[in-house]
Symmetry: C3
Subunit: 320 residues, 3 copies
């Protein structure tokens, strides 16, 4: 694996699941693999789970980790080409990224969608600039349109808790007070479908995701109908994708919250969410705190997914 930005970089999902299972048996088995290797984590947006789990994963492999918090506005990089830099931006991404590449063996980058321009967000400018200019392997720590480490962890979790070969997986939109990117649902759909699972997506009309991610999924506008017979319920809010409402909250219909009554429609389904989660907006306390909630297990598997990805990249570096 040269870079890790989507399910397309992972190769065989069967092998990826087997690699995860191996890591869980002994996290420190490959402690020598990362010796003298430095992972630089660059955060253009805040992070709790991703930062901690990726740092832990890299340390399990004996890597050094350097965290660079850029955050919104704190480090104002120029990205336009040909501009006269006489304003408030002291550095161009054309220098900043290769410089970071000088001091790292692997670079992780987090940069969320701005939700102002679909073209800009779906162009994944920052992630692609790191791939183009850093000269180093790049790991997406959530980009504008995908969150592949989360989806990898989600798939590990499904693998661990499924009781039938092909469980019915339902991705349900749920209400939230502010506009959120489509990265998690895009990516979840992409991974679940790549794994060959049937996927049902349910949301109010207008919240259709980009078809590239969902074309093999079944779209059902009735949440009740979608839930029937489900083995896994994956809840997540996202903002509208379709023009002219890109990045907008069309409405935050609270009747879409996942509660026990809805979970009772399912096949005793497991409940999943990537966290952070708004209690009693996305999901009721009862479901989240109940025995069928997998949210902490998903979070724990973030370390495993990150370690599997780092291992593959380190193996690729060594083989060069």
């Amino acid at each position: 694996m040269k870079h890790f930005t989507s399910v397309h970089d992972i190769g065989s999902l069967d092998k990826a699941m087997a690699a995860a299972a191996e890591i869980k048996k002994d996290k420190f088995k490959n402690y020598d693999l990362g010796k003298h290797r430095t992972l630089l984590l660059v955060f253009f947006n805040a992070s709790l789970r991703t930062r901690l789990s990726t740092q832990k994963a890299a340390e399990n492999l004996g890597m050094n980790v350097i965290v660079l918090d850029v955050r919104e506005g704190a480090w104002n990089l120029e990205t336009e080409k040909g501009t006269v830099m006489d304003g408030d931006k002291p550095e161009h991404i054309l220098e900043a990224i290769p410089v970071m590449g000088c001091y790292a063996d692997v670079i992780g980058v987090r940069s969320f969608a701005g939700l102002h321009s679909k073209e800009q967000d779906y162009g994944e400018a920052i992630l692609n600039q790191f791939i183009q200019y850093s000269g180093k392997p790049v790991i997406s720590l959530e980009s504008a349109i995908r969150h592949p480490l989360q989806s990898y962890a989600d798939l590990i979790t499904i693998e661990e808790y499924k009781t039938v070969e092909k469980p019915k997986i339902v991705l349900t939109w749920a209400p939230h007070p502010k506009a959120l990117p489509q990265a998690v649902p895009n990516s979840f759909a992409e991974w679940v479908l790549a794994a060959g699972y049937p996927l049902t997506i349910t949301h109010p009309k207008g919240y259709e995701l980009q078809e590239d991610f969902t074309k093999e999924a079944e779209i059902v506008y009735s949440q009740e109908e979608a839930f029937r017979g489900a083995d896994f319920i994956y809840a997540k809010n996202w903002s509208a994708f379709r023009d002219p409402y890109y990045g907008k909250v069309l409405h935050a219909d609270r009747s879409w919250m996942v509660d026990q009554e809805k979970m009772d429609l399912t096949n005793h389904a497991w409940f999943m969410h990537c966290l952070p989660v708004r209690r009693n907006m996305i999901v009721s306390d009862g479901v989240l705190d109940g025995p069928r909630s997998l949210v902490i297990q998903q979070a724990a598997n973030r370390e495993i997914a990150a370690q599997a990805v780092c291992q593959e990249i380190l193996n690729h570096l060594i083989s060069q």
Copy 2:
């Protein structure tokens, strides 16, 4: 030791002092003890000494250290149960803490008193939530009402500099321009009394500490009287504990500053303070810079105390 939040967790103080002395002989003797173990330090308040000394201590033991700066307001966690999370708090502590527990073997937490509500502060909500929900050993890096790593370091320092079996120790209130928590004096009293030393506490009327911490101490309202014959003077400001003035500065009487004239009343006493210290408010330049000041030695012993605590917790983890 499972958790470390007060002197009650330390067991025998004689053994704790002996452990500190052993560490000072060779800080790296137990370098293999922390291998593959991660210490997560979570700061809800700023830190210089605690962060640096605890990080250094953990690295002396071969641990990985991850620092998470939460700080005031930066990460707005919901703590109420049953609430509809439709406001500005994106994550509930019920998820955030177990998630942190996923990626750490030991968690250190700093969270100061808000000084708005005695019930809230003395309930130690944040520290207790980490103990209850993280699933991992928790070290207090200063809680609302105690600063046990400081007190442990203070006791090591007293042990090193005392010249009689039972020195007279005096804790004196001193003026400060803003309201400060009672954590350091509470904790100092608790440790000194647990060690079997006679403790005199002197402060203006109204600054009485919670009796749970001070009931075996002698309270003297005349600073001059208290200082007579003292072997150690420990200066610290704190705000009022008693209702209806909880968390308030009653007055900041500058005549309570520790100066050479007052030190001359003592038995050639050592001067102690936990730092940071307001010069010429709490203590005069002359006393602080003089040959009987132990403030830097106390700070240096913070590393030793933190290492002793980490060692005990690691030993407990291994024994499980």
Copy 3:
């Protein structure tokens, strides 16, 4: 080497260049040298290159690294002696620095010129206080008036790319929208002259640097004349040094930008800049992106310079 604050601390530059070349052959050859040693990096100003390269260098030597971001205003240390600390500064540098010294084996400090007072800036108060009070070896990560790790890296780069024994090196002022310190040009001149290279400095009248740094250099007020026959062009902006304009932008004459037409006057010179660089203010896109630009190589050599300095300091510590 006890401290590293200028070229005067480096000893033989021939040996320093040889040490750098050795490190580039195998960065991890001295991985055991830094075992159980902690490098504390204290930043009073923001940093990208310096932080990452120094952290990487120290980790190449097996050191632990702790980064402390102080930044402007965030940590308000009192520096005046004898003052009554009843204002907004909770800690005096007389305690803060020795405390930091307790937990580190080596301390790196970055503190920029304020550009308000020449006396204050050229007195290098903060750097000197760390040397005086920390009790530990101190590395300048850019002080008010020098940036010696940058200059060391620059000299390594010149050594690698020169094709004649004594290349003609030109340091040229270039326009910038805001006032910048003189640390980089001061330091560059100091190192280039110490290496025995002929140095030409060109700038508009009024931008003369302090003579201590430049007295062996040739000052030429015509940029065109200076560039003729040059083998290396080092561009940098700086504010005025001479009274009564200390720290001021006299003018930002855009005709001083380095472009291809000017580079064509040289002896096919290499272009250098310490970064970050304002494109199309300091230098045109064409020159910066062209085949004779060494800016990324300079940045990469920052790691090498930092490692060479850390090695020397560690060797000195061990020899004590």
